[in-house]
């Protein structure tokens, strides 16, 4: 699987800092109840996603397909069944009102902002750097950091095994069954061999790591030194700028008349 990409300034941000900032941003976004503000924030985050991850646009489009699903699933139920006073449509159980509509959209946008931020983080952070940084800046124990890094290495191996297993089942004459029982059978026939193989691999890797004196090391040096740079400041300024601008625009140039989507 090819996942090559170009490096951008987002890649050079200190991973621990990036993680913390995103967590704070998540909480801040949870507290936005003005749909205009949220929509502006979303645009600001989409700019990062579309232009600064360094990944080819085709891949970005592919990754963004699930965003649509998130949007639809999180907004429709609120739009159809939420409470509200200004009725637009009443049809059986479905009751769409102006209030429920904006609240549904708000929820949908919030889902997408979270998804975009998460994906931007994942696309611009190498797991190895993240764990090195967590060890160096946030004093994560090497025991955990290296275990995670080893586990990340196992994932592509598992994907390969899955392919082989798929072949093996076909070779044995297993015809695909449909419906829930088919899904259950598939789950059973894949999960047990994959799990047992992974457990065995994990054990072997653990022994191999010990054979390289992993736990004997009282203190350790680091191959990668992760510090801070001007890109960290840039990232912080960008996010602050976006937030302030989003708020300003929301107040002065709103798209929707509603300023608080909560039902009071």
């Amino acid at each position: 699987m090819d996942f090559s990409h170009q490096e951008t300034w987002l890649h050079h941000i200190n991973p621990s800092l990036k993680l913390l900032i995103l967590v704070v941003l998540f909480i801040q976004i949870l507290m936005i109840h003005n749909i205009n503000f949220l929509l502006n924030e979303l645009i600001g985050m989409l700019i990062l996603y579309l232009f600064f991850t360094g990944h080819p646009s085709k891949r970005l489009v592919l990754i963004s397909l699930p965003f649509l699903l998130i949007f639809l699933t999180s907004s429709t139920s609120m739009i159809f069944f939420g409470k509200g006073e200004t009725t637009w449509l009443h049809w059986g159980l479905v009751h769409i009102t102006e209030e429920s509509f904006t609240r549904g959209l708000h929820l949908g946008f919030r889902g997408i902002v979270f998804a975009v931020l998460g994906v931007v983080f994942a696309l611009t952070t190498r797991p190895v750097f993240l764990f090195y940084s967590l060890m160096q800046q946030l004093k994560l124990k090497p025991k955990f950091a290296y275990s995670f890094m080893a586990a990340v290495r196992l994932l592509p191996l598992m994907a390969e095994e899955m392919q082989t297993l798929n072949h093996a089942l076909k070779v044995r004459g297993v015809q695909r069954k449909k419906g829930i029982t088919g899904f259950y059978h598939k789950l059973k026939s894949y999960s047990i061999p994959l799990l047992s193989q992974s457990i065995r691999r994990a054990h072997r890797i653990a022994v191999a790591m010990e054979a390289k004196r992993f736990s004997e090391a009282k203190s350790r040096t680091y191959y990668y030194r992760l510090g801070f740079s001007k890109y960290d400041g840039l990232f912080l300024i960008y996010l602050l700028g976006v937030t302030m601008l989003a708020y300003y625009m929301a107040v002065h140039f709103p798209y929707f008349s509603t300023t608080d989507v909560r039902y009071l």
Binding site: V128, Y146, M149, A150, V152, R153, P156, L157, E161, T164, L165, H167, A168, L169, K170, V171, R172, G173, V174, Q175, S189, P193, S196, Q197, R201, R204, I205, A206, V207, A208, M209, E210, A211, K212, R213, F214, E216, A217, S219, R220, T221, Y222, Y223, R225
Partner: protein, 484 residues
């Protein structure tokens, strides 16, 4: 001076009835090159882990010993190339060792390059993905990180069991180069490439006792029968086998039967890329065709394409019928993978063999009689209630063959079925395949083993860069000089 030793060791795996080792003593001197031989399951790997101190320090196994000497500095090369690395890139992997040893960061890049050079690896950029390396290169990288430990002793636990002949040669050549001034403790059952380095052999018995130890000539001459029983690939094992058994390579003439497989202008693909192309070839019932060629020549892809597991194009008839009309390929042919574990889909040996028959909803009485016959033929009767994963490596292989062939399909596709097997298992598998062939099946087998080509095959297909460059009866295939 003893660099590693145990005295009166007793060791038992939890849940097992008997002790693996009882009152076991062994000592190894500095600078010695020791080879430990023994049948599979006799505790060779366990012994190596005890001598290195991994047991009981890392792997918790109940044990007791009057005295254990563990070398001051040592490195360990494991069998599975994919299960020794914890980092995704070459440089990071060696850096992991250097970090553990608290080597200052500034020195690391030069150290990494120097260790890589010692094992004959040179990259334009050391920041190369480990997953892009071949098996032989991975094992040499593992050796480089062993060297980074600056070890006095190197433990080698069948480091080439999962490698092809080229990779095996690369790894042993490297070990010979770097091991001169070090103590080497080796487990291996394919020994033709290392036997000249070794100066002492320790032969273990089935019950974890030392049957014999001494210089290699003494062992090879005096204990041949024991070596044979243990399934060791000692020098001359094929000659001894052929003296007692002569594989019969005559083909029963079959009249008026279309070929089992007819290929014409046939291509096999991986993704969108054409990997293998065959202008014209036939496989007839009663033939044993070995498919040979370098790595990446398209051997496995050809087999997968024949089984309809990857995309193919062109004319391909099975027993005279167009393959597009075949709905279930498993009815027509059996396929045996390199790693038998991937093939197991049930929880017991019996169910495994019965699986395909049950899929067809046969009578339980018929199933039971056919399964018993098959278990008897492949010597798995005693294991029938065990989980497939609990079997030994040879038993797993036999089970995968038994389970694939239960329907008596007339065509057999095998991807290196003797790979990583000891001598005893290899001969057992070959003999069983020979019997299946005599019953009238067509066998297509990918192999690297020239001896199999020479003594069991009736026909040879040689692939090169995805093209069939040779298709001749085995008797006409030029004998290659045996690897030195």
């Amino acid at each position: 001076m003893n660099i590693a030793s145990v005295t009166n060791m007793r060791l038992k795996f939890p849940g097992k009835e008997s002790l693996l080792f009882s009152d076991f003593s062994l000592s190894i001197k500095e600078g010695e090159k020791v080879l430990i031989l023994g049948p599979s399951g006799c505790g060779k790997s366990t012994l190596l882990q005890v001598l290195s101190g991994l047991i009981p320090k890392t792997v918790d196994v109940p044990m007791k010993a009057d005295e254990i000497t563990v070398p001051h500095s040592w490195g360990y090369l494991f069998q599975d190339p994919d299960a020794q690395f914890c980092m995704p890139y070459v440089d990071e992997e060696i850096a992991f060792v250097l970090e553990n040893l608290e080597v200052p960061r500034e020195k690391m890049p030069d150290c990494i390059t120097s260790y890589l050079r010692q094992v004959g690896l040179a990259f334009e950029n050391n920041h190369t993905k480990i997953s892009t390396l071949s098996g032989g290169m991975k094992q040499r990288l593992a050796l480089a990180s062993v060297l980074a430990l600056e070890p006095e002793v190197i433990f080698l636990d069948e480091p080439t069991a999962m490698l092809d002949p080229d990779g095996t040669t690369q790894v042993w050549d490297t070990i010979k180069q770097i091991g001169d001034d070090k103590t080497l403790i080796i487990i291996e059952h394919k020994i033709d490439q290392i036997v000249d380095v070794v100066d002492r052999i320790i032969l273990l018995g089935k019950n974890g006792n030392i049957i014999a130890e001494g210089p290699k000539q003494v062992i090879f001459e005096g204990y041949k029968q024991k070596l044979k029983e243990a399934g060791i690939w000692y020098p001359g094992v094929w000659d001894d086998y052929l003296e007692e058994n002569q594989p019969d390579r005559t083909i029963e003439p079959v009249n008026n039967q279309p070929p089992a497989i007819t290929l014409s202008d046939f291509s096999g693909y991986r993704g969108k890329k054409e990997i293998v192309h065959i202008d014209y070839a036939e496989a007839r019932l009663g033939e044993w065709i070995t498919v040979i060629g370098e790595n990446g020549a398209g051997k496995s892809t050809l087999l997968l394409a024949l089984m309809n597991l990857v995309q193919s194009a062109g004319t391909y008839d099975i027993n005279g019928r167009d393959h597009k009309k075949v709905t279930n390929f498993a009815e027509e042919m059996a396929f045996v993978f390199q790693n038998p574990e991937y093939q197991f889909v049930t929880n017991s040996v019996y169910d495994e063999v019965a699986f395909t028959l049950r899929l067809e909803k046969r009578e339980e009485a018929e199933i039971s009689s056919r399964v018993s016959d098959s278990l008897h033929f492949y010597q798995l009767e005693e294991e029938q209630d065990n989980h497939p994963y609990q079997l030994s490596i040879g038993q797993k292989r036999r089970l995968s063959v038994a389970a694939s062939l239960i329907k008596d399909q007339p065509i057999l596709l095998l991807d290196e079925p003797t790979f990583g097997q000891d001598a005893k298992n290899t001969f057992a598998i070959l003999e069983q395949l020979e019997q299946v062939r005599k019953r009238g099946a067509a066998i297509l087998m990918v192999t690297h083993d020239t001896k199999v080509v020479e003594h069991f095959a009736t026909r040879v297909w040689q692939l090169e860069d995805g093209k069939l460059i040779k298709n001749v009866p085995a008797s006409e295939y030029p004998q290659e000089p045996v690897h030195a």
